[in-house]
Amino acid sequence: MSAPAAEYGRVPALLAQHRPRHGEPAFRALVILASLTVLAVIAGLVVVIARESLRGIAYNGPAFLWGTTWDPVHSVFGALPFIYGTILTSVSALVLAMLIGVGVALFLAELAPRWLAGPVGFMVEMLAAIPSVVYGLWGIFVLAPWIRDYVEVPLHDTLGFLPFFTGNPIGIGNLEAVVVLTIMVLPTVAAVSRDVVAAVPLSQREAALALGATRWETIRLGVFPYARSGIIGAGILGLARGIGETMAVTMVIGNAPTISLSLFSQGYTMASVIANEFTEATTDLYRSSLIEIGLLLLIVTLLINAAARLLVWRVAYGASARNVLA
C-alpha cells in the first residue's frame, strides 16, 4: 500500500483545500452587475419613451386611447385603429399558430418516424430564422395574390353578407397580415412545443399505455397535462414575436387606420405606423404622438406578458396551490 495520494481518508482534506473562497464573491458581483444592466436598460427605455411622449400625452389627453381619427396634418391623433390592428392580427395569428403549432409538435414528437422528424423539425426551426422582410416580400408577391384569388374572392362571393367578408378583396389587408404573421409565429410555437412534448418522461406515456390507452389517449392522459404549462409558454414567446413584428406586417396589411371586422379591410398596427411615419414626422407634436404609440405598445406588451405569465403560473402550480389552500 504505497501511493499516498490514493490512501483512504485523504479525500476530505483535498476537498477542504479546494473549497472555493474567492470565486464566490466575484461570481455574485458579476451576476448582480448583469441583472442591474438589464434593469438599467429597461428603466432607461421607459424613461426616455415616457419623456419624449409627454408632449403628445398633454396635447392628446386620454382620448388618444379611443380616438379613431389619425390626421397628422390637422394634428388629430387617435390611436385606436393601431391598437385594434395590433391586437387583432397578433391574437388571431397566435390562435392559428397554436392550433397548427401544437399539432406539428405532437406529430414531430409522438407520431413521426425518426427519419422524418429530424429533417422536418430542422426545417421548422429554420423558418424562425428567416428575416421578416423576406416574409413580407413573399407575402406581397406570392401569398397575397393567391389568397385573393383562391380564398377572398370565393368567400366574398358566397358569404359576402357576413361582416367578416365585406369590402373589396384586393389582396392586401387584415387576412394577409394574419396569415403572414401566423407563418412567422408558427416556428417558435412549434419548435418550443416540440421540445416541451419531447421532454415529457417516458414513464408518463407508459403509465397511460399500461391502462390500455390508445395513442391519442396516451397523449391526452400522459403527455398533455405534463406539457401544458410549457406549451402555454411557447404561446407567450410566439405572441411576443407577433406583437412586435413590424416589417412583414407593414408590407401586407395596407396601412390604413381603419377599424373593421372584415378580413378584407386594410388595417394598421402600432409597430407599422411608427416604422412608416417616424421619418416623416415633421412637427414635434406628430413625433411625440408616435412615440406615445410606442409607449402604448410597450404597455400592451407588458400587460399581455403579465397575463400570460399569470396563466402559466396558475396552470403549472394551480393543482399544488389548491392543495396548499385546501
Binding site: 418522461p201 417516458l202 414513464s203 408518463q204 406515456r205 407508459e206 403509465a207 397511460a208 399505455l209 399500461a210 391502462l211 390500455g212 390507452a213 390508445t214 389517449e217 392522459l221 400522459g222 397535462p225 405534463y226 401544458r228 393543482a319 399544488s320 389548491r322 392543495n323 385546501a326
Partner: protein, 295 residues
C-alpha cells in the same frame, strides 16, 4: 408480520406453504370488500427472447403463470426481470428498438400475433411500474379512476365507489381521503406507488403485473400491499418482481429464478412451487442465490 391470517410465522424463519388452504379464501371474503370473483386467466411464456436493439437481454424463457395464483420473479439486478414482465403486457415494444422472439399466450390465446391490439392486451393485464409514475398534475381521485374514464365511464357515484375501494385496497385511503382533489404529484414516493397500485387495480384487470411494488415503501405499507396481493389472489393472476426473498416467500405460490448468463443475457434457472424453490431448489445457482451466496 406474516400475512397469513390466523397463523404465526415470522418473516424469514418459515416458508409459506404453497398449497393454499381453503381457509384463506374465507378469510379474504371475511374482509368484506373483495366479494367479486372473476375467472382468472393464466399466462404461458413460450421460448421468449427479448432484445434492446441488437442487445439480447432475455434468452429463451419458457414459464407458465398459473391462474389465480401469485408468481414471484426473483433474480439479481439487471437479469431482465422488468423486461420479462414488460413483455407480458406488450409494454416492452414501447421502448424504441425493443423487440422479442417467441410467443406469449394469455388464457390460451397468443398475444404476439398480427391482429391482436396491444391496447386490448394492456386493458386485460394491469401493471405497476418499478418507479411510481402517477399523473402529477391530475388529482388523486382522477389518477385512480383514469382507466375507467378512458373506457368512457362517467357515472360519478360509480367512480367514487371504485376510487374509494381501490384506495382502501392499496392501503392509501386513510392518508388521502381528505384531499382526493390534491395533485397526485404532491404525494410522497411511497404514497405515489400505492396510488399507482390503486390505479392499476381500479380497472380490475385479469392479470396484475407488479415490478417491485414495495421497494419504496415502509414496513407497514409493505405489509398492507402484501395483504392486498394475498387478497387479490382469489380473483386475479399476479406476477410480482421482488428483490426481497422473504416477501417472495410470504406472498407467492410459485417462484421463478432468473439470472444473467456468461453472455450477459438473462435466462430462467428454475421455477416451481415457492416452498420447493426456497427449501429444496433443484439447481445450485438457485440455492446460492436464495441463501445469499450469489456472487
Amino acid at each position: 408480520m406474516s400475512v397469513m391470517t390466523g397463523e404465526t410465522t415470522a418473516p424469514g424463519t418459515d416458508i409459506e406453504p404453497t398449497d393454499r388452504p381453503p381457509a384463506r379464501g374465507i378469510a379474504v371474503a371475511d374482509r368484506g370488500e373483495l366479494a367479486v370473483e372473476h375467472a382468472a386467466v393464466g399466462v404461458e411464456i413460450d421460448h421468449l427472447s427479448a432484445y434492446y436493439g441488437q442487445h439480447l437481454v432475455l434468452r429463451d424463457i419458457t414459464l407458465t403463470v398459473q391462474p389465480n395464483s401469485v408468481t414471484a420473479i426473483i433474480g439479481p439486478s439487471g437479469c431482465g426481470k422488468s423486461t420479462l414482465i414488460r413483455c407480458l403486457n406488450r409494454m416492452h415494444e414501447v421502448t424504441p428498438g425493443a423487440r422479442i422472439q417467441g410467443q406469449i399466450h394469455l388464457d390460451g390465446d397468443p398475444i404476439y400475433v398480427p391482429g391482436v391490439d396491444p391496447v386490448v392486451v394492456r386493458q386485460r393485464i394491469g401493471m405497476v411500474f418499478q418507479r411510481p409514475n402517477p399523473f402529477p398534475t391530475m388529482s388523486i381521485f382522477d389518477n385512480v379512476v383514469a382507466g375507467l374514464k378512458l373506457a368512457g365511464i362517467k357515472d360519478r357515484a360509480l367512480l367514487q365507489e371504485v376510487a374509494e375501494r381501490s384506495l382502501r385496497r392499496a392501503a392509501l385511503w386513510d392518508e388521502v381521503k381528505d384531499k382526493l382533489h390534491a395533485a397526485g404529484g404532491a404525494l410522497s414516493g411511497g404514497q405515489q406507488q400505492r396510488l399507482c397500485i390503486a390505479r392499476a387495480i381500479a380497472v380490475e384487470p385479469e392479470v396484475v403485473l407488479m415490478d417491485e411494488p414495495a421497494s419504496a415503501l415502509d414496513p407497514m405499507s409493505t405489509l398492507k400491499i402484501e395483504e392486498l396481493i394475498d387478497a387479490l389472489r382469489t380473483s386475479y393472476t399476479i406476477v410480482i418482481v421482488t428483490h426481497n426473498m422473504q416477501q417472495a416467500a410470504r406472498v407467492s405460490d410459485r417462484t421463478a429464478f432468473l439470472t444473467v448468463g456468461d453472455d450477459g443475457a438473462g435466462y430462467l434457472v428454475e421455477d416451481g412451487p415457492t416452498r420447493q424453490i426456497f427449501t429444496n431448489p433443484q439447481r445450485r445457482l438457485t440455492e446460492d442465490y436464495i441463501s445469499g451466496r450469489f456472487g
